[in-house]
C-alpha cells in the first residue's frame, strides 16, 4: 500500500478470563497480519495473559449473558442452552473448571485457535506486548514468569505508542 506509515492499533487488555482473553489476541494478531503496527498493554487482570503458564478460566458465575452449551452430542443437544442459576454456579466446587473445559472443547470443535496459538502468532508477527510494571509490583509477578519477547513499561510507554495510533481500544 502507498501510505507513508502503516496503520496502528493500540489495545489495552485489562481482563484475564479465558473468554475475555480472546478479543485482544484475535485483534492484535489479525491487525499485524494486515500489516498494521500493534501494541497491547496488559494491565491489572489482563497481565496474567502474558504468563508462560496460561491458566485463564471462564467465570460463568453472575454472567447471565453467557450461554452454557455442551461441546458433544447431537447438534440439537449442543444447541441447548443450560440455565445454571447463580445459586448453583456459586457453590458447586469446580464449576469454573468444568465450564472452562466445556468452553475449550467447544472452541476446539469449532476450529477456533487457542489463546496460546494466538499469542504465539502475535509474537511471530512482532506485536509489541507490554507488561504493566505497576501491576507486576502490586500482584508480585516477576519477569521470569512471562513469555519471551515482551516489553515492560507503564502508562507513558503505552500512551506514547497510542498517541500515534489510528485505532485504540480498551478491552
Amino acid at each position: 500500500m502507498s501510505e507513508e506509515r502503516p496503520k496502528r492499533l493500540a489495545l489495552i487488555a485489562s481482563r484475564g478470563t479465558l473468554d475475555w482473553a480472546y478479543p485482544p489476541f484475535i485483534l492484535a494478531s489479525t491487525a499485524a497480519a494486515l500489516d498494521m503496527e500493534v501494541a497491547v498493554f496488559f494491565t491489572f487482570y489482563g497481565l496474567p495473559l502474558l504468563k508462560k503458564d496460561l491458566g485463564a478460566k471462564v467465570a460463568p458465575h453472575a454472567n447471565p449473558a453467557m450461554p452454557m452449551k455442551m461441546p458433544f452430542g447431537s447438534e440439537k443437544f449442543q444447541n441447548i442452552t443450560w440455565n445454571v442459576p447463580n445459586a448453583v454456579s456459586g457453590v458447586v466446587p469446580g464449576f469454573e473448571s468444568f465450564a472452562t473445559s466445556m468452553m475449550k472443547k467447544k472452541f476446539a470443535s469449532k476450529g477456533v485457535a487457542t489463546i496460546e496459538e494466538l499469542r504465539e502468532a502475535c509474537v511471530e508477527l512482532e506485536v509489541k506486548l507490554i507488561a504493566c510494571q505497576m501491576t507486576m509490583d502490586v500482584f508480585g509477578f516477576s519477569r521470569e514468569e512471562f513469555i519471551d519477547g515482551i516489553d515492560i513499561g507503564g502508562a507513558a510507554t503505552f500512551l506514547e505508542f497510542a498517541a500515534d495510533s489510528d485505532i485504540s481500544l480498551f478491552i
Binding site: L34, G111, V112, A113, L118, L125
Partner: protein
C-alpha cells in the same frame, strides 16, 4: 475452476476466524513476490475477511471460487 498454477497450497479447512488469515499471512511470508498461494477454507466468514486482508496488504486475489462448502482463493504475493 481456475487454470492458475499455484506456487504453494494452504489447507485452512475447518479453521475459524482468525486462523485462515493468520495462516495465509504466514504462508505468504515464505513466498517470493509474484508467487501464487492457493488457500482453501470452509469458514464462510473468510470470503469477506480474505477480501479485506487483500485490500490492506496489497496481496491481490487473482481468482476465487465457492463450491461444496469450500472457498478457494488464489493470492499473488505483493512485491
Amino acid at each position: 475452476m481456475s487454470d492458475i498454477t499455484p506456487t504453494q497450497e494452504l489447507d485452512c479447512r475447518k479453521l475459524n476466524c482468525p486462523l485462515p488469515i493468520l495462516k495465509t499471512k504466514k504462508a505468504l511470508k515464505s513466498l517470493d513476490a509474484g508467487d501464487v498461494l492457493k488457500v482453501v477454507a470452509t469458514d464462510p466468514g473468510s470470503v469477506a475477511d480474505m477480501a479485506a486482508f487483500s485490500r490492506r496488504t496489497g496481496n491481490e486475489i487473482l481468482d476465487q471460487s465457492e463450491g461444496g462448502g469450500e472457498y478457494t482463493f488464489f493470492f499473488r504475493k505483493a512485491g
